[in-house]
Amino acid sequence: MRSTATDSPRRFTMLTLVLYWTSILSGLTIPWIATIAVDVAKHDQSLAGAVRQLSLHLFAPGYNLFIIALINAIPFLMFAVFLLFHLGLSPLDDHHLRRRRSAGVLLTVIGLIGFSLWTHVTTLWQADAQAALAYLFLPFLLLVLMPICYAFGRALSALAFR
């Protein structure tokens, strides 16, 4: 049988921490990354120009990109805390359980990042007066997405490591 990151306790701890901090930092930075990406791709700005635009609008009334990042990060932070306990307290002697949990958590992190990034990019790409509502609804949609992605990841893992 192949050795995976979940087999060695040290590597498993590393995987847990990587997923934990990836979830936190991606939750905070996805709106900013999307803003820069749309400025560069759609508005033909240089990367430096897009970064400057981002910094100008972080606290500007009507833009509040800092607050948008914090709102976006809420479900990511919640999931990060969950995964820290869920993977961190997994029984060391049960490889199958650790694999299934890791797969569930990994797929959830990927799902959250993908859905959040897609929402932010499409909202900025087709911006209109109501587009900002997406930022308010997104955290709730991500909360709904979490158990679905997790269940899907565990099911995949169960099939793969049967």
Binding site: I24, L28, A60, P61, L84
Partner: protein
């Protein structure tokens, strides 16, 4: 993982959140003012415009930014930053906004139409605080330059006070040969505006205006006239929103019909923000004798720390007394 490792990572997350909170705290409210003043002095138009918007949002605590804002509002820079800086002043300092008004007023008579246009736009940006400029704006309402007339109409709509004079100016502009001016004149009537019998007569033919946008707004204005927003809704808005400017102006436009709101308006004479106190007094002025019960509150407002609020209170008292039967 050990509990120690978990606790360490949770603690690091807590630290990160505290750091983010600190960054947010530093960049909002009065703490942001020094940075925004620096931004006003960068010379970069976008940075200056965003800084002016930020200062306007902060309001009174942005008092240290007033000299820099006045400089931009009356300076030789681009019209857009003059407008943005002028628009930032009323929520911060009413007297400073009046200084800007006094500076721009003579320029309405300038031989250069671009200067007249910029003057009208800057006065409009000051909003209701530029009430004393309405007579001068009406004086150039038939300016030969289309853009000047357009800016004058937009300025009148933004100033909104005194309602009778402004409505007269807007009604006159409804018959302008240039459609952009008619469009600017009909817009305030279609979005919660109050139609007098004269303005109603001027709006009716516009539903057949060759420009569809104008015709649609005329239909909307007539529909608004058929179903006016009740005074109670405006009173409710005063209690709900953080920005009371719009409901106060709506009540002012109603004139004597806003008498139901007098107790609420009297209580707003002691509001924290000078702009709200000024608007409450100006609205009582437009209500006239129906605002009799607000007289004691208005008399107390004659000792308001802000001279512009004191002036508005005196005008309101005069209006209540002078128009009494």
């Amino acid at each position: 993982m050990t509990f120690r490792q978990i606790s360490f990572n949770l603690g690091a997350l807590g630290l990160l959140l505290a750091l983010l909170g600190l960054v947010y705290w530093q960049h909002t409210g009065a703490r942001a003012v020094p940075g925004l003043i620096d931004a006003l002095q960068t010379g970069d138009l976008q940075t200056q415009m965003l800084a002016a918007q930020g200062l306007r949002h902060i309001g009174q605590p942005a008092q240290p930014a007033v000299p820099a804002l006045i400089e931009l509002a009356i300076g030789q820079g681009r019209s857009s930053i003059q407008i943005e800086a002028a628009g930032a002043l009323p929520p911060i300092d009413l007297s400073a906004a009046r200084k800007v008004m006094v500076n721009w007023l003579p320029k309405l008579q300038d031989p250069d139409p671009q200067v007249r246009r910029d003057a009208a736009a800057a006065l409009g940006a000051l909003g209701p605080v530029a009430k004393p400029a309405v007579h001068s704006l009406l004086g150039i309402a038939t300016d030969p330059n289309t853009i000047v007339r357009d800016r004058v109409v937009r300025a009148l709509a933004a100033i909104a006070l005194p309602p009778e004079l402004v409505t007269r100016g807007l009604t006159q502009a409804l018959q302008d040969p240039e459609w952009t001016v008619r469009y600017a004149a009909i817009s305030p009537f279609s979005f919660g505006g109050v139609l007098t019998p004269e303005s109603l007569a001027a709006v009716r033919p516009l539903i057949h205006d060759p420009i569809e946008m104008v015709a649609r707004l005329a239909q909307s204005a007539l529909a608004s006239a058929d179903h006016p927003i009740p005074v109670s809704v405006h009173i409710f808005s005063l209690d709900q929103g953080s920005d009371r400017t719009l409901p106060l102006l709506q009540l002012a436009k109603l004139g004597p019909r806003a008498a139901e709101a007098v107790p609420k308006l009297a209580s707003l004479l002691s509001a924290e923000r000078p702009l709200e106190r000024y608007l409450a007094a100006s609205t009582l002025e437009s209500v006239g004798p129906g605002a009799l019960q607000a007289v004691p509150a208005l008399q107390r407002t004659l000792a308001d720390p802000d001279p512009i609020v004191r002036e508005a209170a005196a005008e309101a008292l005069h209006s209540i007394e002078a128009r009494r039967p």
